[in-house]
Symmetry: C2
Subunit: 182 residues, 2 copies
DNA sequence: ATCCTGATTCAAATTTAATTGAACTCAGTC
DNA sequence: GACTGAGTTCAATTAAATTTGAATCAGGAT
C-alpha cells in the first residue's frame, strides 16, 4: 500500500524524526491557520496543531502517528484529542483490525462552534448567573465610613438587574450560535 | 460632600492601603463575576477587576482611584482602561473641572460583545481568510516519497473549500452577534 | 499469569502571558 | 521655563498555563 493509504508505523525515534516528522508545506500552512484560530480563542496551540494535521490528512490518524508527525509529546496529544472529542471536533473511526484508534476531523463549523459553546461557555454561564443572583444590595454598604446614598443604591440595583438580563440573553442566544453560524 | 459622592484623593501609600484599598463585599462579589467572565474568554483578570469596580461604582472613577482601590499597578490599569475603551466597554466622562479623566461602564451587552468582536475577532478573521486563500493544492505533495493519490487531492480540496465557507459564515454572522445578543 | 502495545495521568519543567514599577512624556501652573 | 501631577511605555519580574515524560494503567495476545 502506498504511503498515502497507510500511515507509517513509528518504531524508532530515529525514524520518527527523519521520516515521519516532516510536514509538507500544505500541512504546515493549514496547521498555521488553525493554530492562529485557537490562539484567538485562548486555546492551547497544540489543539490547533492536532486538528490542523487531521484536517490536512485524507486518512484517519492514530495518536502515535500524530505525536511523531508533529513532534509534540504523547501527553499533549492525548489531552488534545480528548478535548477535541468532547467538543465534537473529531470523530474516532471504528476499525476492528487496527489495535490503535484513529481519528478524522469533523469539518462542520456548526459542530465545532456548538461543541465549544456547550462544553466551555455554557457551564461558566450558570456559575455567573448563580453568583450574580447571590449578590445582595446590602453588600454594597461600606463596612465603615459613609453609607451609599439611596440614589446610589438605586443605580447599583439597576445595574445588577441589567447584568441579569445579560445572562438571560446569553442563555438564550449562545446555544443557538452553532445553528446560526453553521 | 459625602464619600459616596466624591472619590477620595489618594495621597500616600499608607492611606491607599488602609483607607481606600478595601473593597466592600458587594464590590468583591461583582468583581469576581466579571473576573470569571474575562477568564472564560481568555482575557487578563485585571480587565475584569477594573470593569467590575466601575460597574459597582455609581460615580465615574479616575485611573488613580482604581489603582488605589484594586491595589494593582498603574501600568495594568492604564493598559486595561485603554483596552476597555477601544472595545467600548467604558466611557470617559467629560469633566472640565477635574484634572484627571474619569470613566463609567457601558452596561449594554450589545456594545461589549460588538466591540470585542470588532476589535479582537474580526481582524484575525481577515488573516485566516488570507492565509487560507494562499494555500495551494500542490503544497500537499510530499517533498519526497509517494505523492498523494488523486482521490486524496480531491478530498483535501473539498476540505479547503469547506474551510473557506467557515470564513464566509463567520464574516457574515459575527458582526451581527452584538445586535443579536443585545 | 505475563508480556506487549497503546493510552492516560500528573508532577515537574518549560513556555507564554500578565503584571509591575521606574523612567519617561505631556499638559497645565506658577 | 522649571515644577507638578496624571498618564504612558516597556524591560524585567512574576504568575499562569501549557507541555513534557516517566510512571501507570488497560486490555489483548502468548
Amino acid at each position: 500500500m502506498a504511503a498515502s493509504m497507510t500511515q507509517p508505523t513509528v518504531d524508532t525515534p530515529a525514524e520518527a524524526s527523519s521520516e515521519v516528522n516532516r510536514l509538507t508545506t500544505g500541512e504546515r500552512e493549514l496547521i498555521a491557520v488553525f493554530v492562529q484560530m485557537t490562539q484567538t480563542f485562548g486555546l492551547p496551540r497544540s489543539l490547533g496543531e492536532i486538528y490542523g494535521l487531521l484536517f490536512a490528512s485524507p486518512q484517519p490518524l492514530s495518536q502515535q502517528y500524530i505525536v511523531a508527525r508533529l513532534g509534540i509529546s504523547k501527553g499533549s496529544v492525548s489531552q488534545g484529542l480528548r478535548f477535541l472529542r468532547t467538543i465534537g471536533a473529531i470523530q474516532p473511526v471504528p476499525d476492528a483490525n487496527e489495535r490503535r484508534e484513529c481519528f478524522m476531523p469533523v469539518v462542520e463549523l456548526r459542530a465545532l462552534v456548538g461543541g465549544f459553546i456547550r462544553e466551555r461557555i455554557t457551564p461558566q454561564l450558570s456559575l455567573w448567573t448563580d453568583r450574580t443572583n447571590n449578590i445582595n444590595l446590602d453588600d454594597f454598604k461600606a463596612d465603615e465610613g459613609a453609607p451609599p446614598s439611596p440614589a446610589d443604591i438605586k443605580l447599583i440595583n439597576n445595574r445588577l438587574e441589567k447584568l441579569k438580563t445579560w445572562h438571560q440573553r446569553a442563555e438564550l442566544v449562545l446555544p443557538l450560535m452553532g445553528k446560526l453560524i453553521g
